[in-house]
Symmetry: C2
Subunit: 443 residues, 2 copies
């Protein structure tokens, strides 16, 4: 496949690194090029992917003509560089090289940002280049942009984040299954949540880098990794977890940035949180960031904190945002892309599960009659309750009083459901249909 001739104003993108996240970004830029171009408002083209080993197996097979081992040459020829190599070097020198020539940079490199963020931002400001790094904190969760833009007219006083999925999974396992730290860690490693050498996660270094980035954006002042107090979870015992639970607390590893009159304390450590706190129910490998601002009050942002696909969403959001402003005059109004033609559909096209509450005659055969009506309209039953009746399944017992039937259906269309309910109302054995409510179970 030879690359088609580029439109003259096309925005060229070079990708550095094609690991877990990089392969997904390459896939999106190639397979979804039309969608991404429509969202940007200008044609967008991935022109090269710099890798160390062209033959390495990857999650998505990158077209051969895009692969290069000359990262510097790629950086020198594109409008926008996506850096997904990670670590300090050569990522740092490549980003600096791009910014110095005015190319936009999107990266998810938390280690680099947490130690050289102020310096790189200064270079970007000098050359007018864009530098974005939403993916560096909280994976897929939009947190840096809300903090930096949406809360730019407010004063943030405190940020508390569960920003490391590995440690959250381990603490969660210890809390819910009673596992010891070592066993929970081994389990996390088996599931791929923890690395063979888990030090960076378990000792809080990963969270500390994110605390520095969050603190910098929240307080509009530069903070670096070595200014974050850092304590990991390896000393947390099952006794601690149990004692905390007995008093209504759960133990989480939090990255905290807190403002005081003359400065800010940034810290990472195991923390007891009341079980009623919004962060307390963030389970497993999920991330969440809790923000307190003077006017906005309490906010929380929640989502998947890691993984190739979720993290690629954050990278692509930065790519589109930055690319929008590379060519076009700033259109600061939300775009309704002409490329998309999505019709409003009538409610009959909705499919959800349904809850139906009926008063029925208290005699044999009622359930069978009702089930028949549902089946005739392709509506299947997930669960059925008969409150106050002795037999939960099968027929209602004979008695003088009427009986109640409550049904939750599987997914059905509004149309089928309406026809079903209409027919149920007409049944002799159904006295009244009291309630029909929709149920959202699927995410």
């Amino acid at each position: 496949m030879a690359p088609a001739t580029l439109p003259e104003d096309a925005i060229t993108i070079g990708l550095l690194g094609a690991g877990n996240v990089g392969a997904q970004v390459a896939r999106t830029l190639v397979e979804e090029r039309e969608l991404i171009s429509a969202r940007v408002g200008t044609p967008v083209r991935l022109t090269g992917v710099a890798v160390r080993d062209p033959e390495a197996p990857r999650d998505w097979k990158i077209p051969g003509e895009l692969i290069t081992t000359d990262a510097e040459a790629l950086v020198d020829e594109v409008d926008l560089v996506v850096e997904l190599i990670g670590g300090m070097e050569p990522a740092g020198e490549l980003i600096e090289r791009a910014l110095r020539r005015g190319a936009a940079v999107v990266t998810g490199n938390k280690a680099l940002l947490a130690s050289r963020g102020a310096e790189l931002n200064a270079i970007a400001a000098e050359t007018g280049a864009a530098l974005r790094f939403e993916a560096s904190v909280g994976g897929a969760i939009p947190i840096l942009r809300p903090v930096e833009e949406s809360l730019s007219g407010d004063r943030i006083t405190k940020v508390m984040g569960i920003v490391n999925g590995t440690t959250n999974y381990i603490l969660d396992q210890m809390d819910t299954t009673g596992a010891a730290f070592d066993d929970a860690l081994a389990e996390a490693q088996k599931l791929g949540y923890a690395e063979a050498d888990p030090t960076a996660d378990v000792e809080g270094h990963d969270a500390a880098a994110k605390a520095a980035i969050l603190g910098t954006l929240a307080f509009h002042a530069p903070f670096s990794f070595d200014e974050v107090y850092c304590e990991g979870i390896s000393a947390v015992t099952q006794d601690d977890i149990e004692a905390a639970a007995a008093s209504g607390y759960v133990i989480k590893l939090l990255a905290i940035a807190e403002k005081q009159a003359d400065g800010a304390v940034l810290r990472v450590h195991p923390t007891l949180l009341p079980r009623t706190h919004p962060l307390a129910s963030v389970r497993g490998a999920f991330n969440a960031v809790f923000v307190v601002a003077e006017n906005a009050g309490e906010l929380m942002f929640y989502g998947q904190g890691a993984g190739g696909l979720p993290t690629s969403s954050a990278i692509m959001g930065d790519v589109v945002s930055v690319a929008r402003r590379l060519r076009t005059p700033v259109a600061e109004s939300p775009g309704v892309s002409d490329a998309v033609n999505l019709a409003p559909l009538p409610i009959e096209r909705a499919t959800t599960q349904y809850y139906i509450d009926m008063d029925v005659a208290d005699k044999e055969g009622v359930i069978a009659e009702i089930a028949q009506v549902l089946a005739a309209h392709r509506v299947s039953i997930e669960s059925m309750r008969q409150p106050g009746s002795v037999t939960v399944e099968g027929e209602v017992e004979d008695s003088d009083n009427g009986a109640k039937v409550q049904i939750v259906t599987h997914l059905a269309s509004e149309k089928d459901l309406h026809e079903t309910v209409q027919e149920l109302r007409d049944l002799d054995v159904v006295k009244t249909v009291n309630s029909v409510l929709r149920v959202e179970v699927e995410k």
Copy 2:
């Protein structure tokens, strides 16, 4: 107070309406002018506030020389118009007037956006004017910008929001206190959560307007209020709530926008949600929006959905974002404002609550000795547990075995705490200090 001479490049702002939210926006623009100007990077100045009644009482007293009753003249002379009148007219014609002359507009007017959003966006695109409306959905919660920018490289498939605090409060009261609908509504009215005429909230119209705005941004296609299926909560009975609870569900009024291959269904109705769903635990007058995207997976945004102060935070975020791009060339890198000088403080400056777990000698007077050490370092005790001991308060009982003491302190500084723990370790009656963990209770 005569207004100082404006710097030549200052950005002028005109405010339309000075109600609940408007008064807070005026206060921020006047009292925090230096902060806001630093965040924008250019001097910013509120030059007028258009109101119907100059003498009306307001939450913040607006300086007399800013007040005007001539909204049109104000719109014609400023760079940025903040519209907080609400409703269709005259808000609509004033926004149109501003956009046609290329002035930026920030508004929280959900009714207007949900019915004339596409038209107003088209005018903005034509003249290159900015039009932002973060405050129109979810109050203080940054939701529109994340959806529009952070997720711009992903495909959103479903949005489900608790976007009306009044109905959420009513349903929450019915669920937790067993109140009937009418009583819960009366309580909401008494607390100021519901209007004297609660129709717009209770019948779902307010949520439907927000569904149209969310659907438009999520799916990059225009949807209007009258394309949203709408069912309110006035028919929800205590029986429904109880039956739902018995099956592990909670009933919420959700605004749902769901994509299908050829279109999207937008709907507002009472919905059964499993109690384990992240939206299920959103209580009282809080709002939350749950977003599902192909790559990002599940995300949730949570915060205060109404109120003058929280909503003013969203308005000011839009004002700063828009103003940043009015004068300066687009600096797409997160700003670290030079005006702010916030030092990183050492961990000793942190204040939190602490949990201390100790093995102590099992004899009289132990607690007194420990309490004395804490008091000497200004560390006061919130709660104390002696697991396995018969007397929970006072002295430990005599026995052959050692005893355990677990203390949660009130707020204390790291410095005081460290000194306390050091001294506790030196006490004869303290065998070992097993754990010292921090507790975050305060938000």
